[in-house]
């Protein structure tokens, strides 16, 4: 039992990281209908920026704040410069643009920082909290706390601030949003900035667990896709819940299902994606779109 609880909490820790990247995906999808395949690479790039600051001697948390600020501005710039010209284009065009962005950012990181792996410091103390035979690593608890904090702040922003209300209006009905005087273009850019920031959190949290290298986020992106699909691509809450479920499912399947082990773990999110698309395409929290013929 204690072992199960331990695996479960470990799964939540991994799930929280997937959840933050899934949340970034969902934020952008809600506003623009674009699935941003480059989301993971933007997170990886941000993590390199954090690494550069830390390498230069800055304390971790200051480096994090600077990185998040840079990510936010970078996300806005990407929307203005790269996405704006193809706004409203067919889906295939948008997919190709974000895949192109994926390849570009990946190559740029390799060019700037090389493809050699780097050690990324863990901001949380080593060791673990012992409770009833279960040992919970401080780093796992720290990840959960950070992701929980980010979610909480986002919720408060959407629920209680004017810009949050404006963003929800744009996501619901952009044409009407324009008619009440909302600067829709800048709101979209703000949404991309926010998504880049949330994605950067996932990159910085996952880097100490893996090694920092340009392809670090490839696997995480697949888990995040599974999380967003499971929760519903139009539901931020769904992304978070989906991320946690995927994290737990993957960890439990890896430890309790013999033939999966650690090698086949990546199959779990793929099975989840396939299963959700077959059984409940709108996801757990998504709204089914019914159109009258």
């Amino acid at each position: 039992m204690a072992d199960f609880v331990q695996q479960f909490v470990g799964g939540l820790g991994a799930g929280a990281i997937y959840a933050s990247l899934a949340l970034a995906l969902v934020l952008i999808y809600q506003f623009t209908g674009i699935v941003n395949f480059a989301q993971g690479e933007l997170a990886m790039f941000a993590t390199y920026i954090a690494w550069t600051f830390i390498d230069a001697g800055l304390p971790f948390w200051l480096a994090l704040v600077l990185t998040l600020a840079i990510s936010f501005v970078g996300g806005m710039l990407i929307e203005r410069v790269i996405i704006r010209p193809v706004e409203g284009a067919p889906e295939l065009t948008l997919v190709i643009v974000t895949v192109g962005l994926f390849i570009f950012v990946n190559a740029a990181a390799g060019w700037i920082w090389s493809f050699l792996i780097k050690d990324f410091p863990n901001p949380f103390p080593g060791g673990a909290l012992q409770a009833g035979g279960v040992s919970l690593a401080y780093s796992t608890l720290g990840v959960l706390a950070v992701v929980g904090g980010v979610m909480g702040l986002l919720y408060l922003m959407f629920r209680y601030t004017k810009i949050g209300l404006g963003m929800r209006a744009v996501a619901t009905n952009p044409e009407s949003a324009r008619l009440v005087g909302i600067r829709v273009g800048w709101t979209l850019a703000f949404g991309w900035g926010l998504a880049a920031l949330v994605g950067a959190v996932s990159g910085v949290l996952v880097a100490p667990l893996l090694f920092l290298e340009p392809n670090m986020m490839g696997g995480v992106l697949i888990y995040a896709f599974a999380a967003a699909t499971l929760g519903g691509f139009d539901s931020p809450l769904g992304a978070v819940v989906g991320g946690l479920i995927v994290g737990v499912a993957e960890t439990l399947a890896g430890s309790y299902v013999d033939f999966i082990g650690s090698d086949l773990k990546i199959g779990v999110p793929l099975a989840i994606i396939l299963g959700v698309l077959l059984l409940r395409p709108q996801g757990l929290f998504g709204r089914a779109v019914v159109e009258r013929a």
Binding site: A177, R178, L179
Partner: protein
């Protein structure tokens, strides 16, 4: 509008202000051409709306009534000029036009469905900064539409058609508009509800001196509350006059009012 009006006053036409103090040339549309891509819909529409007036735009389906309103608020780009109180609106984006005091209630009402009634109304005041004034205007809108006050926390999508139309007009009022553009407010509503709605529009116009341009298929109702009226056909204005004159016109009567004299 809470933003200071920096409009170039010099542009204002001489002698435009009538003896009564209301500007006769408050909203001026000159030779407006507009359409969608290669499809031209408006072929040189010119009209004037006085300050504090209700102006009705009548006409058959496909005459370009909706396009005219869309061109006024910037949703459709066109050629020609649109000026409000001397400030040029043509060529500006809808969000900018909205911030200059034009509130457009689109066909289909433009409701933010999953948001609550109060959030919908607050969005109407998005460009305003003075919180106390916005709060006061919220109460003012509830005064006009008491039914909305009973549904403050309800999702707007759960309202009836009539309530959603009231919400849309309330949302427009929250911007303290100088001109209110109403596109087919009666669409899909029961006759009783429509009559109530037009009564409210008239009282808003009388109490707050808000200029109203209303596009309507239901010519009777529109002419009852309007001062001036224009008949639009195939993208051109074919008849203009006071609501009384238009009502008395035999051809209009036959075409739009559904009876023969």
């Amino acid at each position: 509008m809470s933003e200071p009006e920096n409009g170039p006053k010099a542009e204002e036409e001489q002698g435009a202000v009538s003896a009564a103090g209301g500007d006769r040339d408050f909203l001026v549309v000159d030779d407006l051409h507009a359409g969608y891509g290669a499809v031209r819909v408006l072929h040189g529409v010119s009209l004037r709306v006085g300050e504090g007036e209700i102006c009705a735009i009548l006409g058959p389906n496909g005459a370009g009534k909706t396009t005219l309103l869309r061109a006024l608020c910037g949703m459709v780009r066109g050629r020609g000029s649109v000026r409000l109180d001397g400030t040029t609106l043509s060529g500006r984006s809808p969000d900018t036009v909205a911030r200059r005091g034009v509130a457009h209630v689109p066909e289909g009402r433009g409701t933010f469905m999953p948001l609550t009634v109060e959030e919908n109304l607050r969005l109407g005041a998005y460009a305003r900064r003075n919180r106390a004034e916005v709060q006061a205007d919220l109460e003012r809108v509830y005064g006009h539409f008491p039914v909305l006050k009973e549904r403050v926390k309800q999702a707007a999508g759960s309202l009836s058609g009539g309530e959603q139309q009231m919400l849309a007009i309330g949302r427009a009022l929250m911007s303290r508009p100088r001109v209110l553009l109403l596109d087919e407010p009666s669409l899909g509503l029961a006759p009783m509800v429509t009559r109530e709605l037009f009564g409210i529009v008239r009282s808003i116009n009388q109490e707050e001196r808000t200029t109203v341009v209303v596009v309507e298929q239901n010519a009777h109702l529109a002419l009852d509350i309007a001062g001036q009226a224009h008949v639009l056909e195939s993208g051109r204005i074919v008849l203009s006059g006071s609501a009384g004159e238009i009502k008395a016109d035999e051809q209009v009567a036959q075409s739009y009012l559904g009876y023969r004299i």
